[in-house]
């Protein structure tokens, strides 16, 4: 029965989107941190989605990797700050909060959609089970 594949497909998407939400949470939590581990400022992380085949012509989603954003961090002139460099600049993370919020909304909508897909498929399969009764 091919309808069972809907669970596999939507399930992979739900897991990928939750991974995306995780990185967004990490980015937002560190939006204001000036130094991460190793003294370097935190760098935003982004998930990379790719389609992976489940059955013929259908594809689920998988996270093929997490890339670190290479844009330079924000520099603020604050000589009194303990992390300030010799010119008095503090480098904080390169997280773009607005971008992350937009990403978060997109991820949560996608998550909801996929949960709905599974619910619909479940309802249809349960109805199919009662066929002939």
């Amino acid at each position: 029965m091919s309808m069972f594949k809907v669970f596999e497909i939507a399930g992979s998407a739900v897991s990928a989107q939750s991974q995306r939400l995780n990185t967004i949470a990490s980015n937002l939590a560190n939006a204001d941190s000036v130094a991460g581990p190793g003294g370097e400022p935190y760098r935003a992380r982004h998930v990379v989605f790719a389609a992976h085949a489940i059955g013929e012509a259908t594809a689920g989603v998988q996270v093929t990797g997490i890339v670190t954003d290479q844009t330079p961090g924000r520099r603020v002139h604050d000589p009194k700050h303990p992390m300030a460099d010799k010119d008095g600049y503090v480098t904080s993370s390169n997280v773009n909060v607005v971008e992350e919020m937009v990403n978060m909304i997109s991820a949560s909508r996608a998550y909801q959609t996929n949960v709905e897909l599974m619910n619909t498929a479940k309802a249809l399969l349960l109805k199919t089970l009662t066929l002939g009764s």
């Binding site: 309808m3 489940i54 689920g60 002939g132």
Partner: protein, 134 residues
């Protein structure tokens, strides 16, 4: 006797199978709504159903072909169930052609039609049961 039973149930059975298949394709489209370079897919349900139920019906009269280059007048085999790419109305920069709203509408539509096919099939089963029980 049994082949007649099969003939009665065949149409809606095939329709149900194709609806399930389409449901799967639409779910894949929605799952990949944020995947770069993913192309939305679908198939023509009417053609696929015609293909699936074709051998149960007598073949339509064929056109006379007096030259090898003449078209046969019939769709090439397998064209009905071919999975086709959707033409995007608003292509996005990352190469993804999924329009989530369109896909969701198709998904809802397909759900209702699946249930309809299921109900037709159920009804036919009940009818056969009533006939056999008298």
């Amino acid at each position: 006797m049994l082949d007649k039973l099969d003939g009665v149930l065949r149409f809606h059975g095939e329709a149900l199978k194709l609806r399930a298949r389409r449901q799967e394709l639409l779910a894949a489209n929605l799952a990949n709504a944020d995947t770069p370079h993913y192309k939305a897919v679908d198939f023509k349900f009417a053609d696929a159903l015609r293909m699936a139920t074709a051998d149960a019906r007598p073949a339509p009269a064929a056109l006379a072909r007096t030259h090898a280059a003449h078209a046969s007048g019939r769709a090439p085999a397998g064209s009905g169930t071919a999975v086709l790419y959707r033409t995007p109305s608003q292509p996005s920069v990352d190469g993804n052609t999924v329009d989530a709203d369109v896909e969701r509408a198709h998904f809802a539509d397909n759900t209702v039609r699946y249930e309809a096919a299921l109900r037709f099939l159920n009804h036919q089963l009940k009818m056969l049961l009533a006939a056999s029980q008298g």
